[in-house]
Symmetry: C2
Subunit: 356 residues, 2 copies
């Protein structure tokens, strides 16, 4: 009973109270001197350990594998709270950048990670994040090969921000991009919509009801390789993160100057997500996902790609939701469940801040 | 007179008052929707414009040049204030990562830049930073090929943080690293010590006197190429940033398990830096530089390297300050100007926070 009462939640994680001053980040950890050295050697190296990182130089030296095209992508991660059902900022930082590379048809090879720590951040919390990053990196097959740590004063950051940058190798023959969508392409989505955004909201206590919903945050690179095995001519791959599926489809329509028509009754939305959206006035089409992808593939490959996706845990619910067509140029339309047709526009402003 | 009084300084830059709400960053700029799109297209693209970045995909695709070894380095930049004499966070973010690559013997090719913006940040200020990044990138010969923008609530960041990650190509035959220092190597420093750290302190108003001192922030990659022309066998290259020259030399001593002996009367410190350090109780050996390098080269190449460095504006004051020797293993000693010898230790904790 007393134990229960003593539990303190810090940035979404239950804290082993009481914390002493030496268990938290202080400004000296960012000085570049002995304290920085100790922080890196005792807290960062053990979970992330790999030979390139441990060399301890200012960056990493890597050898290029076969092939000559590389994908490079970077993302800052500022999710609040740092821990949420199904994931945390560390898993998000690894999967987010791995997925950006996978969406470019690249096989992720290396990640760098740069940390901005707020003075007072409990070190046990940083350790949890690093363990999570390492587990996600292992699952994904990437190595975290270089990093950086800075500390800012209390109140000048929000616990912990992580920027990851990834480099991946693009096998020959893969040509992807929003501009490459073709009339007749099938639009495929890998699963349910909005799980991540609503799970993070729930973790903030912004829902009036309890939910067992978890974020879908996951690395999509293996699923993507299965899809390329089934169809070497995938035209577009995107992960519908900030702004959700609607924003992603609008980007593709705009880049290709084609129309995209989707069928509302094909879209999968979990009941918990549906309920939360109705309560909050959100549309699941605009809610962020972190383990889903959208693909545009030549129509003739549709069944082969779907079958292949459904053999993977992250693709069991894969479904064709619509097609690319000549008009309306640069816009997205939806056949609604009740028989109408409406424009699906880009998200105008803010909906869910700090979800990735 | 009235004009003078109306001038407002925001994060170190004079502001064209009055600012309207629409001239500042709001949470919606981080939503991934239309406002994010507009911010990127109107504010980020014009200064940073290049064909790879403008493709607008989730990351960048690049082709590898000749050779098969690459250097990758990442750094978060959190300097306060954002603008200081001689530079700003944008120039620092480009030069910092370019220099990390150059210190690995790499020719910098590509940079990514990820921005964490605080709600309320004046957009004119962001534009100044981006222009400065582009100017520094041009000076350096790198392209900023991918980026990301996130926004956090007022009070959850400090204006603007930038993480840059760089990829460079390492020409064949270059083998560098702290562990490669050899007994007898000359220790060379490219110029004066502590300019950056003290210039940033002065910009914070933490000095009791006015000073014309400017930060030395500058890209070192051209200087490094001249040095390799003069001596293909450079053993170690480092830029003594956070923690200063003392910390950098200690890292090299530790990695190589050699002793390093330096001569105090060879070290160049500007009078303004000397005065500030005396007033504040700092040692210029521990103050950050952002446009200086330390090299360990085989003794026989010393004069050739120095001559070559002095032909470059960033190397005119290049000087041999000491040598690597067998003992004391892993430690740095200094012959002082008054004839004694003292241990130069690593910086123990915090000295100058938020200087890079």
């Amino acid at each position: 009973m007393t134990e229960e009462l003593n539990k303190v939640t810090i940035h979404g994680l239950v804290c082993p109270t009481p914390l002493a001053h030496e268990d938290t980040i202080v400004m000296g950890h960012g000085s570049g001197g002995r304290m920085t050295q100790k922080l890196i050697e005792k807290i960062f190296y053990p979970p992330l350990e790999n030979p390139i990182l441990l060399r301890g130089d200012d960056g990493a030296v890597v050898s290029a594998p076969e092939g000559d095209r590389f994908a490079i992508s970077t993302d800052a991660h500022i999710v609040s709270p740092l821990f949420f059902p199904g994931g945390d900022i560390g898993r998000l930082a690894v999967c987010g950048t791995v997925n950006d590379l996978a969406m470019m048809g690249a096989k992720p090879l290396w990640l760098t990670a740069s940390f901005i720590l707020e003075e007072g951040l409990p070190i046990f919390l940083l350790e949890q994040v690093l363990l999570s990053m390492q587990a996600s990196a292992e699952q994904t097959g990437v190595a975290i090969i270089a990093g950086d740590t800075k500390v800012v004063e209390r109140g000048k950051a929000d616990g912990l921000f992580i920027t990851t940058t990834g480099v991946g190798w693009i096998p020959g023959g893969r040509e992807l991009g929003g501009a490459l969508a073709q009339v007749g392409d099938s639009v495929i989505v890998s699963g349910t919509l909005g799980d991540h955004g609503i799970a993070v909201l729930a973790a903030r206590g912004e829902l009036a009801f309890k939910t067992a919903l978890e974020s879908d945050v996951a690395p999509l690179n293996d699923l993507v390789e299965l899809m390329f095995d089934a169809c070497p001519e995938i035209h577009v791959l995107r992960d519908p993160t900030r702004g959700g599926l609607a924003t992603t489809l609008n980007e593709i329509a705009r880049q290709s100057d084609l129309g995209i028509l989707i069928e509302e009754d094909k879209l999968l939305v979990k009941p918990e997500v549906q309920a939360a959206c109705e309560m909050l006035g959100f549309d699941p089409l605009y809610v962020a996902n972190e383990g889903k992808l959208v693909a545009l593939v030549p129509n003739g490959y549709t069944e082969k790609v779907l079958e292949s996706m459904r053999t993977h845990p992250l693709g069991v619910d894969a479904v064709r939701i619509g097609r690319a067509q000549k008009s309306p140029e640069g816009r997205v339309l939806m056949h609604t469940a009740i028989g109408g047709t409406r424009v699906v526009d880009v998200l105008a402003g803010e909906m869910l801040p700090r979800i990735c």
